[in-house]
């Protein structure tokens, strides 16, 4: 486990520069916050608000031995496995989406023992992040009691001193770095999310370092006008990356729907071609395009705009 201990996690936070300062930087520099061997928590959920702009850069920079955690892991997990960047995943579910069935690549890498798969229930994993965010070593829950996940996952049980009944305790998870993609952020890292908040607010506070990519960098004045919408405080954030369409081909609520045709093509490719198909995908979309703009060009303006229109229609 690369998870920091409770005391160490606090010391790291105390030691880091938490000052209000301009944190804007290109994704290439932001990605340097991630070291080989780190535990990376990925914001959003499945194919919603996935921080692709930063994930792509980590793959390009050939980071190694990462552990990835996410509540529901989509095929970014597959790409990290195939690229040799991930040695473990911590999640409640790994696949692509219901219609695409089992992930051939997850099966291949996990069943062969090349990648470790630590499974928690969805709530349990959420509570692990939340425990860290709350600054406590664990949180109690009734989830996972009576299941085989309990022992395997490394949760503990106790007899509740108030009820006398059995309770499950899930340990805080302090990621080394959290990658979050948001709708808007100011240069200091204060950030707002529209629509689904998923678990991002907890991740931001649980992690030792946080990279925020944003569809839009706004003036702090703009955030102040709706301060009650800000859910990530600047003092948790270490890098702010401007990245319109930064979650693409996954969705960003209200701004663009997921490119399901692209996801479908990837999934079918992998279903028939296995890891080789994923390697081709890496060449085409990760190693090939030098910049995130060049990457977006692969999809084309028409597709981006069409997905934007679809989102607008839905949020009407």
């Amino acid at each position: 486990m690369s998870d920091a201990s409770f005391v160490e996690a606090r010391r790291r936070l105390e030691a880091k520069d938490r000052s209000r300062r301009d944190k804007r930087m290109p994704v290439e520099r932001a990605a340097e916050l991630v070291r080989d061997g780190d535990h990376i928590a990925i914001g959003g959920c499945l194919y919603s608000r996935t921080p692709w702009v930063t994930l792509r850069e980590l793959l390009r920079q050939r980071r190694r031995d990462l552990t990835l955690s996410r509540n529901l892991l989509c095929y970014e997990g597959e790409l990290f496995m195939v690229a040799g960047a991930a040695r473990g995943i911590v999640t409640s579910w790994a696949g692509i989406g219901l219609p695409w069935g089992l992930s051939r690549i997850v099966r291949e890498f996990v069943e062969s023992g090349r990648v470790r798969f630590d499974e928690w229930s969805h709530l349990a994993l959420g509570l692990r992040y939340r425990a860290a965010a709350m600054g406590v070593p664990f949180l109690p829950t009734l989830s996972m009691l009576g299941s085989d996940l309990l022992a395997r996952a490394g949760a503990r049980t106790m007899t509740c001193p108030f009820t006398g009944e059995r309770l499950c305790l899930v340990p805080a998870l302090f990621p080394d770095v959290a990658l979050l993609h948001v709708h808007r952020a100011d240069p200091f890292g204060n950030a707002q999310i529209d629509g689904y908040p998923h678990m991002d607010a907890d991740l931001a506070v649980a992690a030792a370092a946080v990279i925020v990519s944003a569809e839009e960098i706004v003036d702090p004045e703009d955030l102040r006008r709706h301060a009650d919408r800000t859910i990530i405080p600047f003092f948790a954030v270490d890098a702010v990356v401007e990245a319109p369409y930064g979650a693409y081909p996954h969705e960003c609520y209200g701004l663009y729907e997921a490119d399901l045709a692209h996801i479908d093509a990837y999934a079918r490719g992998v279903a028939s071609g296995g890891a080789d198909a994923a390697r081709r995908h890496l060449d085409d979309y990760v190693y090939g395009p030098e910049t995130f703009e060049a990457y977006l060009e692969r999809f084309g303006v028409g597709r981006l705009l069409e997905r934007r229109r679809a989102a607008q229609e839905l949020s009407r």
């Binding site: 499945l46 969805h122 349990a124 085989d148 009944e165 908040p197 678990m199 609520y253």
Partner: protein, 253 residues
């Protein structure tokens, strides 16, 4: 009238949902069943989706593929964090929860993690997702799945989601003080649990299905009443609604 197994499951499940209740639904059959119930007998049924939405209303032809995407949030009144949406479950707000699974045992324990031994699995399945939480916290849990012998096994390889665990007192001893698995809906039958043993038992057969057929497809002993009733077949209107909801048959098969 012909219908697919998925259509039959959705209709049978929908009929179990009472009006004015709150259902925690996943995408696919559970969502189809819930929307069908809303459209037929349960206009005030509230849908809650794991991705973080309360009270969405689905657009026919635009059903979500995941509970975390924009389509799933359509016309919702509340969009809590995922952790929060599960905490509402743990607090006791949701009447129904849905579950599927690769393996189900007579106690209603469900496996979506491993086929074979966990240390060296033959198949690494996708994992719990919210299933373990749903089964732990919702008041009544409905297991909905196709009926196959390799699926209905005496002992699941791994308990991802605990049903009655190992007997009438199993949940309680494990610390699960609330909620319980009440029904199992398949394309062959409707099953409940014997309060005395907490084991699955037959309650009714799907239209045209014989008792022997069910037993043939079940890997454990399945008690049945002397005279097993048959469920009424899907009505034309029910099927029409489902087909309008999912015209591309992404989930209807």
């Amino acid at each position: 009238m012909t219908y697919t197994a998925s259509e039959l499951l959705a209709v049978s499940a929908a009929r179990l949902l009472e009006d004015r209740k709150i259902v925690f639904a996943g995408v696919g059959t559970p969502l189809l069943a819930s929307v069908l119930a809303q459209t037929t007998h349960a206009p005030n049924l509230t849908i809650v989706l794991e991705g973080g939405v309360i009270g969405p209303e689905m657009a026919p032809g635009r059903l979500p593929i995941s509970t975390n995407e924009m389509r799933a949030a359509r016309r919702g009144v509340l969009l809590p964090s995922i952790t929060q949406i599960f905490l509402y479950a743990q607090r006791g707000f949701y009447d129904y929860g849905f579950l599927g699974g690769a393996q189900v045992d007579p106690y209603g324990n469900v496996n979506t993690s491993f086929i074979g031994p966990p240390e060296r699995p033959r198949v690494r399945l996708p994992g719990s997702g919210g299933a373990c939480d749903i089964i732990s916290h919702c008041r009544e849990i409905l297991i909905v799945t196709t009926h196959e012998r390799r699926r209905f096994v005496e002992r699941v390889d791994f308990v991802t989601s605990p049903g009655h665990v190992d007997g009438p007192d199993g949940r309680r001893r494990a610390g699960l003080l609330f909620g319980r698995v009440t029904k199992v809906v398949t394309n062959l039958a409707l099953m409940g649990f014997d309060p005395a043993t907490a084991r699955m038992r037959l309650e009714a057969l799907q239209p045209g299905v014989r008792l022997e057929e069910v037993r043939e497809h079940t890997g454990f002993e399945l008690p049945a009443p002397a005279d097993v009733p048959h469920l009424p077949p899907p009505a034309e209107r029910e099927l029409a609604i489902l087909r309008t909801l999912d015209p591309e048959r992404t989930f209807l098969g």
